[in-house]
Subunit: 479 residues, 2 copies
């Protein structure tokens, strides 16, 4: 999942963001990087003059310098934690003037190294911008600062009868501003739609220190270019998001969760069609896990129990969220009966209480951590593909990798989003085999090489696999 503000483009006076460059153009970025100034005591005294002492950190910076996957470590000497928009403005304006590189950092839970310094840039942590500022109970809109933790926001809204329109594994530590900056998708996109449809307003500070504010949060407002859309998923390229207005979804009164086993990926797809027909407007998640991933999860994830006696080829988690328990239960039951009758589902269980449902979700969300524990090296991919072809990439990759490692898949089937994981004791060999093979494969199938994780640091120069030249040119000119 993508959860944190991405970096790099935001080395302020670098004219073009690395992640929208082709390999050839990256040389230019390297040259620009060499023009950045190094932090001096005089810079530090300036920051001390505009920020309170607890907003400046110069020691114990490991967690700020290291990405979630621990694949990259920067060497920033300074973390700034502004407490309001004005301080963000002052910081950016000064860094821009002084040619100091800046990397905005949200929850730092992203999977593409987008929120850590490449070298020694100043880290601008948004975590102290954590106020919830307003709430509209008639329409279900919340206004808050960028540094509010998604799960905290969820708690606040939930008490008032609403929920945020997105949910992801990292909700306990990712921040809403980073969610927006990286256009986080997550597990309930199938029901509540994407952030471009749900972000009603935002405030962002531009590199110059100027503020772009559009926080009226009107559901309809056709007056001029829809600038806020540019910031959603821009990974810090255009500015730092400081506030967000979000359209909420009514808190469901009834949630049904089932965990099902099927024989083949084809049956995963058939079951999805059936679920869409029979569960209609209440379906809120449709997630799959293949056998290999399932076994690794159960081995390494605390407090999980296998819902099945036997082993199966594919597992599907189906969740519904609705407003009427009786109706929802009837729909779920009718769906499962059809699925059994048609022979699509071979085994399955409906959670009869919250702890059973929590177990199902712990299994689903355990993939990221469990696979890291299983082997020395890990490769994680995040592809968008046509649903019927989604698993082909996993199968073809298995063939290619052979005995060098284990290839497994899981993901958000309903959104056409597969997470492919390779675990191996021999990372260097595997890398040679799968790069650029996998990206070319996805390109040939007209997919995206980054469905929800973004480009960040790790996928720099790979944009060409998903976007054509004209689009990349237009991105550069927009920037």
């Amino acid at each position: 999942m993508t959860q944190s503000s991405r970096k790099f483009g935001f080395c302020l006076f670098i004219i073009i963001k690395a992640s929208i460059l082709t390999n050839k153009e990256m040389k230019l970025t390297k040259r620009l990087f060499s023009n950045l100034q190094t932090l001096t005591p005089s810079h530090l005294s300036y920051f001390r003059s505009i920020l309170p002492p607890n907003s400046i950190q110069t020691e114990d910076l490991d967690s700020y310098n290291t990405d979630w996957l621990k694949e990259h470590k920067g060497c920033s000497k300074l973390v700034l934690k502004p407490q309001n928009t004005l301080q963000v403005q002052e910081i950016l304006k000064y860094c821009n003037q002084e040619r100091l590189g800046v990397v905005p950092q949200s929850g730092n839970t992203g999977l593409v190294g987008g929120s850590v310094p490449v070298k020694d840039e100043v880290v601008l942590s948004l975590k102290n911008l954590n106020k919830i500022e307003g709430f509209d109970e008639t329409q279900g809109i919340v206004w808050c600062e960028a540094g509010v933790i998604l799960d905290v926001l969820n708690g606040y809204c939930s008490e008032r009868g609403w929920i945020p329109p997105l949910d992801l594994g990292a909700k306990g530590s990712c921040l809403i501003g980073g969610n927006v900056a990286t256009n986080a998708g997550g597990i309930r996109l199938i029901r509540y739609g994407s952030l471009p449809g749900n972000v009603l307003g935002l405030e962002a500070v531009l590199p110059s220190g100027e503020v772009l504010s559009d926080l009226k949060a009107l559901r309809k407002d056709n007056t001029g270019l829809n600038l806020k859309q540019l910031f959603i998923g821009s990974e810090g390229l255009l500015g730092v998001i400081t506030k967000v207005a979000l359209l909420l979804a009514p808190k469901p009164k009834s949630i049904q969760t089932s965990f099902l086993a099927v024989r083949s990926y084809q049956d995963v797809v058939s079951l999805l069609k059936l679920a869409k027909t029979q569960l209609g407007e209440i379906i809120s998640a449709y997630e799959f896990i293949d056998k290999d991933a399932f076994n690794v999860i159960l081995k390494h994830t605390p407090r999980t129990t296998n819902p099945f006696d036997k082993s199966h080829e594919f597992y599907v988690l189906v969740e519904t969220s609705g407003s009427n328990h009786e109706h929802d239960a009837e729909k779920m039951e009718a769906f499962l009966n059809s699925a059994y009758e048609k022979g699509i589902v071979v085994d399955g269980t409906i959670a009869s209480n919250t702890s059973q449902a929590d177990n199902f979700w712990r299994i689903r969300e355990g993939v990221a951590v469990a696979t890291r524990k299983e082997a020395k090296d890990i490769f994680k991919y995040d592809f968008s593909l046509r649903i019927p072809e989604m698993y082909d990439v996993v199968l073809e990759c298995k063939k290619k990798v052979g005995k060098l490692g284990r290839v497994m898949g899981h993901g958000h089937v309903g959104d056409g989003n597969v997470h492919l994981t390779i675990i191996t004791e021999n990372g260097k060999e595997v890398e040679k085999v799968v790069y650029p093979y996998l990206y070319e494969l996805v390109q040939s199938k007209k997919g995206s090489i980054s469905a929800e994780h973004g480009i960040g640091l790790f996928k720099q120069g790979m944009l060409g696999y998903s976007k054509d030249e004209e689009s990349i040119k237009y991105m550069v000119s927009t920037k």
Copy 2:
């Protein structure tokens, strides 16, 4: 409703679009306009060399020169109707080189004069780009050219079990490309969300003739800036949309329509809250009409019958769309029972068949045409406001206009979108009274002066009432 490609900004080499200018800056546009070339026989022969004869029209151009409200008439001498993207490219490239003004025109059903020539620009009609090119039945995605009529698209999708995620009064003549170019809202936004969440891809021809194509239509694709979002609602400012990929909604198996009467606008809002709680995920429209508008509609709209014996202050149309008739009927009944018990609804009826439901919708959609028949002059406004304050603007306007005219309101309550109409025999006097009063009023309430109709020609220079200076500056620099 906004349905047609807007114009003006697209006088290709005009650097800045008029609609994002303040009054002061409009002088600049006028000067730029004077630099446009007039159509010559040599231009015409060029067009004849690249287009088939039936794509060129030089006579009977009234319907292309006149906007839907018949408030503005341009004097274009040439309408081009390209049949594919390549022809659009050639036309734009040539016009750009020759400094010929171009106005892209979709269904020409917009209400702000955005799709008609200001003077004698060439009209680029998209109506012959009318092919539906692809369909994904697993995810519910349709690919089509920009000139497909919304209702035709609806028919095509409907046969396959899906519906477009938007619906509006002009569906019989508006084109999907214009819907996207103007970010059309319409009557089912409350259920299916806005176009930024539902447009999965588009193809657009830039003024230079180059093509920007992003038609993979992946639900998740975080690779670089989300450029397509810039085109949604840009009213032709950045280019001409030629193709669209749209996320569809499952075709409902059950539709319930009720028409209710309440005593006050406050009760309209209370009823909305109740509807959201009790109808939950199946609510698909919540529309209101005040007494004055209702009476005008019934007087002038063919095939409508009054569902009530007595007259009431406010009327509400509530629609649900769901997947299970029994469940939906139960929910609607429970909602109405609560509404009666709480004394919110004073009278009401549920459509027991399609023809009754059609009558309700004819009433709701009859406003635009009926009000035009009622008096000599008409003023139509389209505001976004906080829901509880939405009707205050109508009341305050009534006071202000007094006996000079009749002020009435209707609209999409669930989206905070009110359409205010003034009908009068004395347009000039009314104009003096309401302008700029009404815009200032909406500004003071932090609303938008154009919820869904856009800026177009009629609201040029009024952007400052809805957007701050910094935003306008950023729009201009983006352009």
